[in-house]
Symmetry: C2
Subunit: 454 residues, 2 copies
């Protein structure tokens, strides 16, 4: 079975008309969420450091760093947008493999689309095909590949970026085979890097290198024709187990992007049920922090094990405190990146409320479940049971939820109007004459500093 | 044991004065050989395709593609010079690990030296330290790392490039730790790519990515501080065995570059004893092809197994024909790249002579040994026994041999005078005020086409 060639042929020959509307819509949701994450982290130290290091080496400044005025060459844009979209760890998740699929793929092709205008439907098609290649390759080696220490978003992502970019470049089947091979021989990214700037570097680097692979293949730079499946190819070298049929079976019949999920909250997934419960209580009962005597959580053991920090001092610690997370959920009705700033963690209202939050383990609860009980100062008791947290496959974020998340991320970067326009462009990406319009619309008309001052 | 930090500290703090003269001379030999290989392949299809794909994305054109008029940005120059230097598979070999050490390291720092002038002694020092890091990391995981399918020149090379570039950039110890970590998380390159353009892509990509790692670290882009030794770091993820002491023991007391070797002939090492024997007979007896009745070789079994092709039709097949190799050795006194062109393989003199070459196995001969017997038409018989082929650690190529090899490679790219000047600059690199001078001197004053016509 020629795995690499089968996949290459599929990516080269597939027709957009054969993608179900539901799948296209999920792709638009993924793209929207990706743009929001990239815009949100566009002023983070991680990308500032990368830009400081690399901007002076930029080639033709044809592509936008999302959310910023800077333009850089397309490979650098692919790197930087891949970095920002994963900086908050708030991007999408393909739960079967824990791949964050959009970063490597969208970062590569949006940059390319700014160089040579691409119709929106072709863009979305390439995006879907890239995610398909990436996630199927991930499926074929997961979990041993991940377990040994590979950051699968990097290692599989480079294939997705190469496939999607190669599709937009109009590669022949043989060139696509080479592109996948050049991707295979660049596949990299170690889990040891988690907790450092190199974690978001991985999807960025996958985007950069996948784009390089496609550009080289376009000029007949050759590689092995069995880069994925050969004895000394990707799968056998980077994994102790390989299921080639995960790549080749039912191609074009099932779509991995249909399984994509989005995080509603900017913290570990284990806290999400509790946050969800608090936000629902707030909404249903118009809950106010000052009316609350105490909050009691019944949780899965992992919640206390991973997020049991009672008195966080800085923003990052807040992400590991279910007490802080529930407090901001009740106060702000949200647990986005801005609820985990240093200021948010030190906010006296949040401090006062989280001291009244208690959490105990209830055996038998699933990781996705929680019981929240709020006792009010007036003696009333409110209860909320969560069966599946929002953002799970069973209870996906609604389109409206995704928009609200986007607004939270774009705050301070774009004006409300600019954000709304950008959201609309993301939903309508398949109808655009020029998909690169999305990138350009991610930049504020006035510099962010000026707006902050105003 | 903090392996990454120990190595980083060594690279940052080491003093050039503490490197023995013999080691410095070996480094100059390695550098000379590397420049020759890069110049020699500077018009090869592999680099032409890469340039066609990537030149238009170049940033500031500050660095030279060796042997060419093109200038490109430093990261692209690192990539392209790494590619050309390995295209003929004629570069240096660290026999303990089969790493080709110079490509990744020299390609990265020569590009950097063209951007910011560097004194020659500092340049040679960084080169030696980069090779040290690269080969020690290779030693720590070889052979299981190579056996499973990693092309170790790529996977270890990225560390060497990062270390050497980081040294020239004046990184602090912590920044060097990060640079090695950023290198670790980019470590890649599959043996499956052998026989395609991706093989020479590996040292080029290692140079490009190692340089990127150093530039990012210089701006405090963070990575793990145990990128090499952590449970989910380089060594444990990419190898089933790790000997950390190979990296840390006797640092500064032994030098891996002292173990470097150079190929005298542009073909598989198994043919080298026979070629060596023929060249010695030619020299000692002023041997002429037309005087020869027959040539008889007694060889190790592998010679016939790997290079037994009786009637090669194209250049590449000539490399797998010990008959052709011995014929050109007698006719030209050389077996360089130009003896393996399509024309050389079809040359009637070579065809006529190789039909008179016979080879049979002699049990008991070592791979490094051969017996050559030449019967002349006048009835005389000449014999030559080779105990160790030239180019082996036991009988290294002399400085003169390396110069002759360089001349062969540069033929058709540079004039004889230009070649002699470039050779002199390579020998004297440690004395140069500006090491980048070597790169600029690798380019012909007049375009190669003009010279060919003249």
């Amino acid at each position: 079975m020629e795995v690499t060639r089968t996949l290459a042929k599929f990516v080269v020959e597939h027709r957009y008309a054969d993608i179900p509307e539901k799948v296209r819509h999920e792709a638009a949701r993924s793209f929207l969420n990706w743009v929001g994450c990239a815009v949100g982290a566009s002023r983070h130290e991680t990308v500032e450091n990368a830009l400081a290091a690399l901007s002076e080496f930029s080639g033709p400044r044809e592509a936008t760093v999302l959310g910023r005025g800077d333009k850089v060459d397309i490979m650098l844009a692919a790197l930087l947008n891949g970095i920002t979209s994963h900086t908050f760890d708030f991007d999408d998740t393909h739960l079967k493999t824990v791949i964050h699929p959009s970063g490597p793929v969208a970062s590569a092709i949006l940059a390319l689309a700014e160089r040579t205008p691409v119709r929106g439907d072709e863009f979305l098609h390439a995006f879907i095909l890239g995610v398909e290649a990436e996630c199927r390759i991930g499926n074929s080696v997961y979990p041993p590949h991940y377990d040994v220490g590979w950051h699968i978003t990097g290692t599989a992502g480079v294939f997705g970026a190469a496939a999607a970019a190669g599709r937009l470049l109009g590669l022949s089947e043989q060139q696509m085979v080479w592109a996948l091979g050049i991707a295979a021989t660049q596949s990299s990214g170690l889990r040891e890097m988690f907790g450092t700037m190199c974690k978001p570097f991985h999807p960025g680097n996958a985007a950069r290198n996948g784009l390089l692979a496609a550009l080289l293949a376009q000029r007949d730079f050759t590689s092995s024709s069995q880069g994925i499946e050969a004895k000394r190819g990707f799968a056998n070298v980077l994994s102790t187990r390989f299921k080639p049929e995960e790549i080749t079976k039912r191609l074009g019949e099932t779509w991995e992007i249909a399984l994509n999920t989005y995080k509603p909250f900017a913290c570990g997934i284990v806290e999400h049920p509790a946050i969800d419960g608090c936000i629902q209580l707030r909404k249903n009962y118009n809950l106010k922090a000052e009316d609350i005597e105490r909050v009691d959580l019944k949780v899965h053991p992992l919640v206390l094990e991973l997020t049991g920090k009672k008195a966080p001092q800085v923003g990052l610690e807040g992400k590991f405190s279910v007490y802080h997370s529930c407090a901001v959920a009740i106060i702000h009705g949200a647990a986005g990146e801005s609820q985990y700033s240093d200021e948010a963690v030190r906010d006296p209202r949040a401090v006062a409320l989280r001291e009244r939050v208690n959490a105990t383990v209830e055996q038998g609860l699933h990781e996705d479940q929680v019981r929240v009980t709020v006792k009010l100062k007036n003696g009333q008791t409110l209860e909320q049971y969560i069966e599946h947290a929002v953002g799970s496959l069973d209870r996906p974020m609604s389109d409206g939820d995704l928009e609200a998340k986007f607004h939270g991320l774009a705050e301070g970067v774009l004006s409300r109007l600019e954000t709304e326009n950008l959201i609309r462009l993301c939903w309508d990406v398949a109808k655009l004459k020029d998909a690169g319009e999305v990138a350009r619309a991610s930049v504020a008309a006035a510099p962010a500093d000026a707006r902050k001052a105003s």
